[in-house]
Assembly symmetry: C2
Homo-oligomer: 237 residues x 2
C-alpha cells in the first residue's frame, strides 16, 4: 500500500525522501489557488519564476503572455497583475501564458524537482488532486509552502483534506499527516470561519484581501489537475 507523508515547512523538506513520490505543492494563500483558477479558466500555461526581474524578462520574450506577482500584498513594480485567483476570469486569461512570481510557492517547485512528479493543490481543485492521487498507486508527499518557513494552518488543513480523501487507497505513519487530518476534521464543516483566525488571515486582511482569501476556500470551484513539467504548470486531463 503506498504511503502519505506531510511536510509542514520547506525548512523540513530535507527530512523526507521523495524521489519515488508524487509531491503536492500547497500554497493556499494564494499561489496554488491562483494557479488552479487561471488554468481552469483556460490559461495555456503558467511559468513560475523566482524574481520580478525574471518575470519581466520572460514576459517580454513570450508571445501572448502577461506578468503577475505581488510583494507585500500589492502588484509588484514592473508587473501587470497580482496574485488573486479572481483576477483571472476566462474572458481575460483564456489562451494566454501567465508568468507568475510568488514568494513561497515557486521555491518549493524547485526544491522538489528530484521527485517522481510534481502537482499543485489548493481547495479550489481539491477533488481533482484527490482523484488523481487515488488512482496513482504512488507514494505521496504533501508539501506545505508555509509562511517564511513557519507552519501555517491553511496549507496544513489542505494537506489534511487530501490525506482524509485517500484513506481507502493509502496508509501512513506520519504525525504531521495525523495532525493535519485531525485539524481538517475540526475545520471542514466551517472552513470560511475557521480560516479567519490564522496568521495569514490577519496579515493579508491588513491589505484588504479578505474576499480573496474566502475565494481560496471555495472547495472545487476550479477543479483542474495541475502538473509541473519542469518549466511550466499546465492543466492535465
Amino acid at each position: 500500500v503506498p504511503i502519505i507523508e506531510t511536510c509542514l515547512s520547506p525548512a523540513l523538506l530535507h527530512l523526507y525522501n521523495f524521489t519515488d513520490s508524487i509531491v503536492v505543492v500547497i500554497d493556499v494563500f494564494r499561489a496554488t489557488s491562483t494557479i488552479a483558477a487561471a488554468l481552469s479558466n483556460g490559461a495555456t500555461q503558467i511559468i513560475p519564476v523566482d524574481s520580478v526581474q525574471e518575470c519581466i524578462q520572460i514576459g517580454n520574450n513570450t508571445p501572448n503572455s502577461i506578468t503577475a506577482g505581488e510583494r507585500d500584498g500589492k502588484v509588484a513594480a514592473g508587473l501587470q497583475y497580482g496574485n488573486s485567483p479572481s483576477e483571472y476570469p476566462a474572458h481575460f486569461i483564456k489562451g494566454k501564458t501567465l508568468v507568475l512570481t510568488t514568494t513561497n510557492g515557486t521555491r518549493l517547485l524547485h526544491m522538489a524537482s528530484n521527485s517522481k512528479q510534481i502537482i499543485t493543490g489548493s481547495f479550489l481543485n481539491l477533488q481533482a488532486v484527490i482523484d488523481y492521487l487515488k488512482a496513482s498507486n504512488s507514494n505521496i508527499l504533501l508539501a506545505c509552502s508555509s509562511w517564511k518557513d513557519r507552519c501555517n494552518i491553511e496549507d496544513t488543513l489542505f494537506a489534511g483534506a487530501v490525506a482524509a480523501g485517500l484513506a481507502d487507497t493509502h496508509t501512513h505513519n506520519c504525525d504531521s499527516t495525523r495532525m493535519a487530518t485531525q485539524l481538517w476534521q475540526q475545520a471542514n464543516k466551517q472552513l470560511d470561519t475557521y480560516i479567519q483566525d490564522t496568521a495569514h488571515w490577519h496579515r493579508l486582511s491588513a491589505y484588504g484581501l479578505q474576499q480573496d482569501m474566502l475565494y481560496c476556500c471555495a472547495i472545487n470551484k476550479h477543479n483542474v489537475l495541475v502538473t509541473y513539467n519542469g518549466q511550466a504548470l499546465v492543466a492535465t486531463t
Copy 2:
C-alpha cells in the same frame, strides 16, 4: 501583553527570536518526563549530556551519581539505567545526581542557550509549568524536541496544553500555537487513548514501552518546576 510562540521542530528554531523569552523544552517521550519524575522524587540535579562517552566520564567524576541513557529503546552500553520515568522512585534517586544522555532533548537545551531562561516541560509537571509562566509576565517559546526533527503529536499536544493554560495572561498570533491548542482541545479528554495513534507510540511499542508512555501521560503526577542553570537541571520552588 506577553506573547507565546510554538516551534514544532528544532530544525525550525532559527526562525524564532527568543533572546527575550522563556524557552520551554518539551520531550514528552521521554526525556523531560524522566527529568520531572527524578527531580520530583528528590534527585539533587540532572546533568544532561550529548554522548554516552561524556555521560560515563561525568558520572565517574561526580560523587553519588548514576548514569543513564538509552539508544534504540535499551540502556546504552556502559550506562547504568535507562530513560524511563518509572525507573527513578524516591527511595532510589533521592539525593543523587542523575547524568542523563538523550537523543533529542539535550540538543535543544544547547540550541536554546541564548534565551532569557530555559525550563523543561512534560505532562507530569504541566501545572507547575503553567503556574510559573502565568506569573512570569514574559514572552514564551514552546520548543518541541520532535523526533529527528520531524514534528510529533505528543510534544505538540503538550505545547497546546500550556498555551491553553495561559489564555488569560498571554496572547499569540502563531499558527503553530493555534494548531497545538486545537489538537489539545480534541485530545485532552482522552489523552491515554489519543496518544496510542502516534509515530512514537508505534515505534516505542516495538520495544515494549507502552506502560512507560502511559506513565508520561499522567498529568501532574510529578508536579515540579524544572529550570536549567546552564549545566544542570534542578527543581525550583
